[in-house]
């Protein structure tokens, strides 16, 4: 088994000694391989030079543009939003002041109505009072007038009685007292 291993290991290393010119052959490139390598590398080099690096730069440029575009767009959107917000604020303020104006108006109206009603009521009350007074005054006048006419008629009646009876002192006195009683009874 050991010889087996040893022989297998020798695979790599013994040979250059056994066949002397072969060893250095590994270090000297074969012409066709060299040409192929040069050709392949030249093609890759020109491809990288003329296409790859410009492509990479283009990609970076596109990325940069996209990012700046997004940023400006975001800026625009923000500005729009701010404008919108200001608009809304203004509208709200307008609405509020309008509402205030309406309320004020209503208050003023109500105030006017109230004072009107009060004034009307007062006037009415005064009218009622005045009427009552006038009525009372008229009543009194009528009463006075009726008393006056009564007094006149009574006076006439009394005079008739006085002249009709004998006018003595006691009769006189009884007549006056009768008259006064009549007066009292009229009251």
């Amino acid at each position: 088994m050991l010889t087996l291993l040893a022989n297998s290991l020798v695979l790599a290393q013994e040979v250059p000694a056994a066949e002397e010119p072969e060893g250095i052959d590994l270090l000297i490139p074969q012409t066709s391989e060299l040409i192929a390598g040069i050709l392949a590398f030249a093609i890759i080099f020109f491809f990288v030079w003329k296409w790859v690096l410009p492509a990479v730069n283009r990609t970076l440029e596109a990325r940069r543009e996209a990012i700046t575009g997004q940023v400006t767009e975001a800026e625009k959107t923000r500005e729009e939003a701010e404008k919108l917000l200001a608009d809304y604020r203004k509208q709200i303020a307008d609405a509020r002041s309008e509402a205030n104006a309406i309320v004020d108006d209503a208050k003023a109206t109500a105030e006017g109505v109230k004072s009107d009603i009060v004034a009307k009521a007062q006037a009415e009350a005064q009218g009622i009072t005045r009427k009552a007074r006038e009525e009372a005054a008229a009543e009194m006048e009528r009463a006075t007038a009726s008393v006056r006419s009564e007094i006149g008629s009574l006076s006439v009646e009394l005079a008739q009685k006085a002249t009709a009876g004998a006018m003595d002192a006691s009769a006189h006195r009884a007549l006056v007292e009768q008259f006064l009683e009549e007066l009292d009874g009229m009251r």
Partner: protein, 272 residues
């Protein structure tokens, strides 16, 4: 896996001397061309190289096809890879002027990453960077770039500063200068290429040894009886190494790119 087993197709664990390919290079060299166009041989490595190229192109193309604001998961991965090389490696190491070298470093990183990951891709299982061609070419490219930049930015003072460093005591200056000179102009490209190459060779060798041998042993129960149990720990260990090699593949691509960036940086701003 398939290819690995193919590579050891001649193996017979029941025989006395077993599983020994005539040459270790068999694991790495696919010299017989599958087909040829004129003098150009399409060996397996060549085809895999072009496959790696198409994979890289496809990944980059489909990951970055259209500039999307919210990328897909795949797009995020590709973008983070590109961003990593551009920001952490190119700009992080070289500095603000590193953007100029981003295409080179990015192409290098992606190519090496896919080439290295072929090591652990089932069905391919061969890192094309375990052949010297690609590491050597890329390290020589880096060498040309940093030497050229050194002269372009600093004139001949570039070499002067390296061989006659002012910050070192005069007695040691010639020695440090010599070491620095050799290190900068010869060892840098060599080690850059060999580091990647050696890591991939070692990884491929280990995976081949452990997985293939383990598999061959395990599957020859009838021939060698109990001895086939040897295959189990080998295969299990091979699976552990398999996971480790994924890390190595990514790390080596990163280190190669990083060191290229560092070498370029050291030519633009030489240390005084």
């Amino acid at each position: 896996m398939e290819q690995l087993i193919l590579a050891s197709g001649a193996c017979d664990p029941a025989a006395e001397i077993i599983c020994k390919p005539e040459n270790v290079n068999e694991l790495f060299e696919f010299t017989t061309p599958l087909f040829s166009i004129g003098p150009f041989d399409f060996t397996r490595t060549v085809i895999l190289t072009f496959l790696a190229m198409f994979v890289v192109l496809a990944i980059l193309y489909f990951g970055l096809r259209k500039p999307r604001v919210v990328p897909s998961k795949f797009g995020v991965m590709v973008e983070s890879a590109v961003g990593f090389v551009r920001d952490d490696v190119a700009k992080g190491v070289i500095g603000p002027e590193g953007a100029t070298y981003t295409p080179y470093l990015l192409a290098m990183f992606m190519f090496l990453l896919i080439a290295n990951l072929f090591e652990v891709t089932p069905g391919i299982n061969f890192p094309i960077t375990a052949r010297m061609a690609i590491p050597l070419f890329l390290s020589l490219m880096t060498w040309v770039i940093f030497v050229f930049l050194g002269f372009a930015k600093n004139g001949f003072r570039y070499v002067g500063d390296i061989v006659w460093p002012k910050s070192v005591p005069i007695g040691l200056r010639w020695l440090v200068g010599l070491i620095e000179f050799v290190s900068t102009f010869f060892l840098r490209p060599l080690t850059l290429a060999v580091r990647l190459f050696a890591n991939m060779v070692a990884g491929h060798l280990m995976l081949t040894l452990l997985l293939v041998s383990g598999w061959v042993f395990m599957s020859s129960v009838g021939d060698i009886g109990v001895r086939s149990i040897i295959g189990v720990p080998w295969f299990a260990f091979g699976l552990g190494i398999f996971l480790f090699e994924i890390v190595v593949a990514v790390l080596q691509a990163y280190i190669f790119t990083l060191l290229s960036a560092v070498y370029i940086q050291s030519s633009i701003h030489p240390m005084h």
